[in-house]
């Protein structure tokens, strides 16, 4: 009897755990990077991060062999002055919501590029989330364009 109740408890715990695990999926949509101007040592990668789970997550790290250093940045224009900062503690991704990385907002900054980013090429990028763990993607490089008026998905935080 005691054994059975333990088994039942274990079963209940497993059932409870499985959906939570299945839902903690992060999906990356429309990743892209702008082709870099000649001689540029830096670049930026953009994307939409969808959090399908009911648990808030956080992008805490980024790695790739495309550049020596990768950082998660926020760009803000305050009273006409551009301020770019690494986001301390990572970029929060709300439960059931999404975060848009786009020119003029959040971006993954690629510092000391190993080679220029050329339109038509792709490079690998690994995103590390606090809860969901590692997510590896391929980032297509698009032709140089200003893009803020031609890309869908305006707004920094889009709650679904």
């Amino acid at each position: 009897m005691r054994y059975l109740s333990k088994l039942a408890l274990a079963a209940v715990l497993m059932v409870a755990a499985v959906p939570a695990f299945a839902q903690s999926s992060i999906q990356i949509e429309k990743p892209w990077a702008r082709a870099t101007p000649a001689g540029a040592k830096t670049g930026a990668a953009y994307m939409t991060i969808d959090n399908k789970s009911n648990v808030a997550d956080r992008l805490i790290g980024v790695s790739s062999d495309v550049a020596k250093t990768l950082q998660i940045h926020e760009m803000k224009v305050v009273e006409g002055t551009m301020k770019m900062r690494e986001i301390p503690g990572g970029l929060p991704v709300p439960a059931g919501g999404s975060v848009v990385l786009k020119p003029g907002g959040f971006h993954v900054m690629l510092i000391e590029l190993n080679q220029p980013l050329k339109a038509g090429e792709t490079f690998p990028l690994t995103l590390v989330f606090e809860k969901a763990g590692k997510v590896s993607i391929k980032v297509p490089v698009e032709a140089m364009r200003a893009s803020h008026d031609s890309m869908p998905g305006m707004g920094h935080m889009e709650m679904k």
């Binding site: 101007p37 040592k41 830096t42 020596k68 900054m109 140089m144």
Partner: protein, 204 residues
């Protein structure tokens, strides 16, 4: 008991002092704000710099035409290429009027932005845009003349990024501010301002 009171007074003073510092910081940041509506702010003035071909340039180099001037740096991954791409598109849209203006990209990162790097970088944008750089002192002077804020911010990897004004100043042929294009202005409004500026060009 008395000791606790002293402690509380001391910690309250620290909080008040910190708040005061915060206010001071904000008023300092506010100083860099430029009202683009009045057009009466004294922006612009004499400078000596070097262009992306290695030639010495001064305010007289630009005096023949009205000009658009933007401060940035090549290490900038987001706002500078975005602005230079916007400007390149507008220059193209201006058509023949584009020849009536000068366009200048001034580096706020003179330590990294050599004339040859500026030249290479600008080859990716409209050919009308010239690059100006100089010694840190020369850059500090022109930034002061144009009331441009810029400041180095160290990054974790031992490098630095540069905060800077994200405004394109539109200057008349007399070197005085006419108006400005803020970051991510829509195409129609930016083009209207550039056309108005082109109309100020002396007839040649």
């Amino acid at each position: 008991m008395r000791r606790r009171l002293i402690l509380e007074v001391v910690s309250a003073s620290v909080v008040i002092a910190a708040a005061g510092l915060g206010v001071a910081f904000f008023s300092l940041s506010g100083r860099t704000h430029i009202n683009t509506n009045t057009g009466v702010v004294a922006v612009g003035g004499p400078f000596t710099l070097v262009d992306d071909t290695g030639s010495t340039v001064t305010e007289k180099t630009l005096a023949s035409k009205p000009y658009a001037i933007y401060f940035g740096y090549t290490f900038c991954p987001d706002v500078c290429p975005t602005t230079l791409l916007d400007l390149s598109r507008w220059i193209k849209d201006l058509g023949p009027d584009s020849e009536k203006l000068n366009y200048v990209f001034v580096s706020v990162d003179p330590e990294r932005d050599t004339p040859s790097l500026m030249h290479l970088y600008l080859s990716s944008f409209d050919k009308h845009i010239r690059g100006f750089t100089g010694t840190p002192e020369q850059i500090a002077k022109i930034a002061k003349e144009y009331r441009v804020f810029y400041g180095k911010v160290p990054t974790d990897d031992g490098g630095y990024v540069v905060d800077h004004s994200a405004i394109i100043f539109l200057m008349g042929p007399d070197g005085k501010l006419v108006t400005a294009i803020p970051y991510q202005e829509n195409d129609a409004s930016a083009l209207a301002k550039l056309r108005k500026l082109a109309a100020m060009a002396p007839r040649s």
